[in-house]
Every structure is written in C-alpha cells, then in structure tokens.
Symmetry: C2
Amino acid sequence: MLKLLQGLEPDRPPGEDGGSGTGVGDETNEFGQLVSVAHGPRLGIGMDSCVIPLRHGGLSLVQTTDFFYPLVEDPYMMGRIACANVLSDLYAMGITECDNMLMLLSVSQKMNEKERDQVIPLMMKGFRDAAEEAGTSVTGGQTVVNPWIIIGGVASVVCQPNDFIMPDSAVPGDVLVLTKPLGTQVAVNAHQWLDIPEKWNKIKLVISREEVEQAYQEAMLNMATLNRTAAALMHKFNAHAATDITGFGIIGHARNLAQQQKNDVAFVIHNLPIISKMAAISKAGGNLFGLLHGTSSETSGGLLICLPREQAARFCAEMKSSRVGLSGAVGQDGGAGDGQQAWIIGIVEKGNRCARIIDKPRIIEVPYRGSVVSAQEGSNNNASPPEVQLT
Amino acid sequence: MLKLLQGLEPDRPPGEDGGSGTGVGDETNEFGQLVSVAHGPRLGIGMDSCVIPLRHGGLSLVQTTDFFYPLVEDPYMMGRIACANVLSDLYAMGITECDNMLMLLSVSQKMNEKERDQVIPLMMKGFRDAAEEAGTSVTGGQTVVNPWIIIGGVASVVCQPNDFIMPDSAVPGDVLVLTKPLGTQVAVNAHQWLDIPEKWNKIKLVISREEVEQAYQEAMLNMATLNRTAAALMHKFNAHAATDITGFGIIGHARNLAQQQKNDVAFVIHNLPIISKMAAISKAGGNLFGLLHGTSSETSGGLLICLPREQAARFCAEMKSSRVGLSGAVGQDGGAGDGQQAWIIGIVEKGNRCARIIDKPRIIEVPYRGSVVSAQEGSNNNASPPEVQLT
C-alpha cells in the first residue's frame, strides 16, 4: 500500500508562473450539479459556494473556503486580497452579508522569528480589515507551520431564501457584465520579472518599468476590492446568474457557469477589459498565460453577471457611482469616493450550455488609477462606454 | 519592508517527533474569552468552536476548523482521523449534529500521478465515511498543491440554544471524565521508531515489536472514533463544561478549560488512562513527550468533561454500553457493538481557574482491543472501575 508519510518531504518552491496560486486549487468539480431537495435549493461542490438547507424555518447555510499562496509582496495587501477572495464566492451568489469568517494560515518555517513577527500580524490585519469592511469579523481559524506560507479562510452565512440568487437562470437576450478588469496574473508576474533579466528582456519593448509597477499596484487594488457592491446591485437589477473570476480565467468560469444553467443558453464574450498594457505583454510573450483566450488565472477577480439587457447599463452606472475603495490601505485612498468600473462584455444566446470568446475580441485597455490619482474626474475616459459594442 | 514571497522556498520535512501535527496548530488563544452579547452567548477564538449569534430567531452558527499533516501511514484511516478531529470540536460543546463539512486538502508535489491517484481518493473516502457516520456530509472544500500533504476540514452547524453546552459552568464537587485513553503521540512515534535502530534501542527493553504494532493500531482506532456518543450523553447527564484533548495534551486543554469557567474552580487530575505500555516507553525515554506530565500531544483525543459527581459513573456506564465503532474500517470491526471506555480521572475543587495533575497519578493501562478481539466480553477487565479512586 502506498503510504502517506512519503509526502512529508522537502521540495522545490512553486514556479513563478504558477505562483499566483489560483490555478492549482479552486473548488473541485467532482459533484458540480445543482440539486433540488425538498427543503429548498441545494448547491453542491462545483459552483462558488455550497448551499445547505437547514432544519430551521427555510433557512440555508451558505459557505465557501479558499486558500492559496502569497502572490504579492505586501503582507497587509495579501491579507486583504485573501479575504476579498474568500468573500467573493458569497458575493457571486448575490449575498451581501457574512455571519462569520475563519482564517486559515500557515507560517513558513523558513522565516525567522523576527520575520514572522512582522509579516504574519500584517497579513492577519489585512485579512481582518477587509472582513471589517465587509461588515463581518473573523472568529476562529487555524495556524500551522509549513514550508510555504498559506493564507485563506472560510466565509459562512445563514440566509433567507431571498438573500441569495441561484446561479442558474440566465436566458437568451441577457448580457454579461464583468466588474473587474482581467490581467492580474500577467501584472503580478511581470512585476517579478523586473528582477529577472532574461524574462524582462522579452517584454521590455512593450512596457516600461514604471508601467509594470503601476500595473502591479492596479492589480493589487483590484484584487483587494470587495465584490460586495456588485452583489447588492445583482438584486436591484434582477441578475439571473453570476460567478466570480479566479483560477480558471474568465473563459473557464464562464463555461462552468454556463453548465449550471436551467435554460438552453450559451455565453459569448465580445470584449475583454484588461489592465492597461497587460494584453501587450501577453502578446509579446506569444499569448502569455492565454490572457487573450481568457484562460489566464485571476486572483480575487470580478463577478461575471448575467443581467437582463435593459438593466445592464444601469447596473454599470450604479457600480461607477457607488462609493467603494480601500480605506486606509497602502497609504492611499485607493479611489474611495470613486466607484468601480464594470463592463458589458458579452451576450447570452440560445445554445448548449457552453461559453466562448469571439475570434477577435475587443480589448478594453483599463487605465491605472494610480497614474491618474490627481485627476480622478474622467479618469476612465479611455474606456469606451461599455454598451457600445453590444447594443 | 519584509516581503512575503520569501516564504515560498523549500525546506526540510517536520521532525519525526513533531510529525503528529497536533502540536503546531490548534486554535489560537489570542482572543480566548467568553463574551456575552445581546443576542445570545458568543464564544470567540480560544475554545474548541466559535459560536456566532445569528439574526434569525435565536439561532447560533457554531463552527470550527482543523487541519494538519498525516501522522499515520494508512490514507483511509488518516481521512477518518482528520474528520473525527474536526467534528470533535463540535462534540466538545455537546453538539451532536453537523449541517455541513468542507474538506481542506493539499496534495504533495512530491507524489507522482499514480501515487496521488491511489492515496488522495482513499484519504477523501476516509474523511467522507467518517462524515457519513456522523450523519453529515462534505459539500465544498479546496485542494492545493503543497510540499507536504495537508488534510483537514471545517464543520458548521446552526443550533438552537439548547443544542449546545457552553463550556463555562463547572462547579466544585464535579468530577472530570475522559472518553479516550492518552498516548497517541507516543504510539505513533514508537511505530516509526521500529525502523530507526538508535531510537528503537532506547525502548526495546520495555516493549516488543508486536506490542508497538498493536498500540499503533489501538491509537489509530481511537483517533478515528467520533466523540459523538459522548456529546449526546453530555446532555443526558447534565455536563457543566467540556473540551477535547488534542495538541496541547491533557493538562494544556484542562488549563484552557479551567480558565473559561465562571466559577472559582480548579481541576485536579488523579488518573491518567494511557494506551498500554505507552507510559513505559515514555519513562524509558525520560518522560518522553511529557506523557506522564500530561503535555504529550494527542490527535483527535477524547472529551474531557465536567460532570456532576452523581452522574459520572452512569455516564461512563452508558458510554460502555453504547454501540460505537468503525464499521468497515481497516479490515476489522473495531469493536463495533462494544462501547467506548470512559474514565473518571479527576475532580473539580474550589480554586483560581487552573489545572494540575497530582504528584503520582495513577496510570491506568488501557489494553489493546486488537489483542482481545476474540474475547470481547470483559476485554477491559484490566482497567479498574473508574470511580474507585475518587469516591
């Protein structure tokens, strides 16, 4: 018989390209079906959160877990990102509240005591601050020692039936909205390549060092942004289904969502909003990470939401006018007072529960907020009005 | 600023002595207080589970998480142990039901594909089977790749106020009951030492190879046994407080429990039920792991329960007559039909919320069930009636 303890051996660190941590995990798809039971809807493994009917008055327990390895250098921001990433699975179901979070942490045995004492509290603070911004708190968790740092958590909420939106009701004629730009994996890796000449040489013709730094900051801000506003607006604008974009890239998650639909639909993506210059980097590397094919991993990405066509523009407008941002994070206000950009990126057609990106999707270059911090008004003028391509 | 990514480096495996995984983690004690709030009792980090008052009709969310590294060679049993260990935190609060479990898993990058395909499904099956035995199921989870295998989970339940027993109401005159024998860490390590001559030479005068194998099997069965029966009997016999014995050893968890008490009490432990011969090994190694001082880590240990003195003997009798066991596990019935032994091990006195073991505690040698499988009747005759020492 094969023995377990052989796993307890040292090995190499994750490759830089796999270092985002988002590609290796995510919920398993093993039993990914929607199953209706007598007590109410039950959502198994395969979508973002599980939904467990309870014995108490029509209530359901909705919960999710996610953990991964650090992908940004700043421990505080890493904590925020990990928390936003866990909560995002609830937000994808239109849930805006969370009753409790658990924090899952492993401390690297490679760090000395001083390093641990500085890094781990910052990471925990980032996680807790994001939880607080989400109106919840962290009560419970577990810490172990491991070769690699792990950060993650569990988010749980007990819901009334109207609190959540089952991700299965898209109809032909709906449009697809995305609430954060793509390209986080490219930005994070490009930032690491600043120190690796042979990598940097491949992309330096299409981007400057300063732009890489700005793109990295932009990616970090996006990953740390909660999808909570989007979750609230899903109710207001009658969303039919949603998921969040993480390790499988936008096309992977679009396909997964399409497979969950009750109706015979297909998702067709026309536009790819991407952090500025990340498409150019991907092209320079020969479609690096598959960004232009929608397969590049995202971490704590936006929500992909199926909305009635007539509601989508107003959804995007309210996202933009809502007050979001990272209060107090990384020494800047992260655009607090500014809203969050959302884009109509595709349509729902009749079809056999699949998803695709059209041959030559329009790339929407999403500018760095850091670069326009002194000119917040009109800062997103470079991005065309989202509905132009589709209506 | 210290950077996170430096943690992503290879390192050595855990030392064999620390390999049980129970000593490195456990819930942090950072905010370990009982806090009463308007909506109901709230139990924070520091005890076995957290209790979160909900917005819905007096209900509470009770949940816990635990994950660690494999400490037995059998993947199936490791899965069962991990599940029993997670659930034990609920059982320690007298909770007998669990609404959902999430599974947390990391696959070792050191294993080849064939090894993964054999080992991981067995581990998952063990976890799922134990969950099923507990009347719950696993819906959700996360898997990552890591240098070391990790197995663990999250257990959540939504409770009425009467479903759980806050662990804070011990009174002088109560007795302490323990529902599994101590010594799992010694048994697991002794089993590893069979292949390490310099270690084996130190203990071979006090134990045979066969006895080590039997002790290891006994430890494995105990770790995989659910504390669910004990949780149910806590209600029947009016338990005042309880905790489960894991990484901090019996004295560590007794102290932790003592600190949570509302009344001025102290816990005094007179008896140490220990898997047969493990005390001898510990002595031979110079109080190895601190077993005789109560500091040896346990994994998925028993419940330590404060019971009214007049109820304790009946509690133990009903534990013994209850039907428990690992149906179908490891090719033997694990004593199914047999009950589970429990021992009165100490008393609750007036005191300042501390716990201690008396100078020369009585060591109760708990025989291996494997060795008496053909004579189940009276198999525990070697253990004196538990109440003798205390009444």
